[in-house]
Symmetry: C2
Subunit: 250 residues, 2 copies
DNA sequence: CGCCTGTTTGACTGCTGTCAAGGAGCGTGG
DNA sequence: CCACGCTCCTTGACAGCAGTCAAACAGGCG
């Protein structure tokens, strides 16, 4: 078989699947009609696979695309000149990465895959062009970016005002609601990230995270064995977070 | 004089001034050509004045517009159900407020004026329409929102990793560079916000802010009398903010 | 002058970071 | 199959930065 033909077949398989994607109700297609979807499918590069630990991009990469997580999970972080890392977010299927980089030539953060992960790539140049033609898509982009700002403010709030217990409770609840959005169990899930990443994200020491987990466990609020977590008493967790009952941190 | 005529005169005075505005190199007009500017001027409501302590909007207000600060300064904060306040930002002339609210029906925060302040209002509905027609303006909007996300991540980083001294040094340097952008003295300025707001913004207690100010003063790094601040040793301040990163990689 | 708000200073407590060591899980190789 | 090394996680002891409480001070304004 001729290679050109084979490539063409692969391309058609990859394309025209946004409308069949189980995440279309979370991702960019959310706002689009059937015929508009096809335009989006024209510009997306679907199904890139990364293995655990690989980088989708890092701060030295010229900014070119946003990425939607299809399966797996991603950690974004800023690496300072001194080599310090600050985790800025965890991204699960249906969520969009790279919105923080549209103001700079290079990516503003480094995106590292926490497990075998599949992503869809949206070249921004084409995306910008398309948003001009599809008002709903433009509106959705503004919506997503605005949401990202809000999330980040919620995180700042968590970091500046809340105790270790409150921060971790908030993260667990955020993850819970995000699993629920994907029709998975909101009380029984596996953490995609290491304690170290949780600690970094929440501005705590690893040891503190570990201690809070065992404290919650002793209080019968959660059950944790390694990365497997079961939320036994969601209301208790919400009580811990007080004002933070909302999904807010990522 | 007939009232309709008078109103019309006022309207023409208010309009067609973006290109004469001293802040056009910071604000939305930044990306626009002469003829495009006129389109922007068509939708902007210029010169709204607020007195110290007044709200431009708050979290119970339906989201309708973004606002550019023309003179004065603004504090945005999130008020939780419990009545807690978290300051999310300080906005100076040329900066745009409300980008965090485009994902929700109501404003995502409360914008309070710190001094007598003049703002320009951009109704988002019209702004969205206009961005579809002016690619440069759309790009600029994405740019600004992205910048806002980055700023917020930087803040989160500051809150999660840095000491009180480092946070305050960083804030002083940020203010300094923002005054400089406006062709004002970068070393001699007046803080628009109270110690309380600084503390809240940086996740500290008022007392701590006060103590750090006096410590910096005793070290000869700054001179502060009330809200009047003079940066005596900018390099020392930069050193304070960087020291932590150095220590971190030991 | 007195009131109110904002700022400063001091004494003390405590949460959380740091240091140190040990345990658990897992893939590799003998 | 076990030993080994590696990474990740847990637990304990201790110290320090920053929060809390309390009080005095300063400045603006009627």
């Amino acid at each position: 078989m001729n290679q050109a033909i084979r490539l063409h077949q692969v391309a058609s398989q990859l394309r025209a699947t946004c409308n069949k994607c189980s995440l279309s109700n979370l991702c960019l297609p959310l706002a689009l009609e059937e015929n508009e979807l096809e335009r989006l499918e024209d510009i997306v590069l679907q199904g890139k696979i990364f293995n655990r630990g690989e980088h989708i991009f890092d701060q030295s990469t010229p900014f070119k695309s946003c990425f939607a997580v299809r399966s797996g999970s991603v950690k974004t972080s800023i690496i300072t000149e001194g080599g310090d890392e600050q985790v800025t977010g965890f991204f699960m299927p249906g969520e969009l990465i790279g919105l923080d980089s549209m103001a700079t030539d290079n990516y503003a953060c480094t995106a590292k895959v926490l497990e075998r992960t599949s992503v869809c790539e949206f070249p921004v140049e084409k995306l910008e062009q398309l948003t001009r033609k599809l008002p709903e898509l433009q509106h959705h982009m503004y919506h997503l970016m605005s949401q990202e700002i809000q999330n980040s403010h919620q995180l700042a709030m968590l970091l500046s005002k809340n105790t270790a217990e409150e921060r971790i409770a908030a993260l667990l609840l955020s993850l819970s609601s995000r699993f629920q959005r994907r029709r998975m169990s909101p009380t029984n899930f596996s953490l995609p990230m290491a304690r170290n990443d949780i600690a970094n994200f929440l501005g705590l020491a690893v040891e503190t995270v570990s201690r809070v987990f065992t404290r919650f466990q002793n209080q019968g609020i959660i059950k944790a064995r390694g990365r497997e977590v079961e939320l036994l008493d969601v209301e208790a967790l919400q009580l811990v977070t007080r004002d933070f009952a909302r999904q807010g941190c990522r």
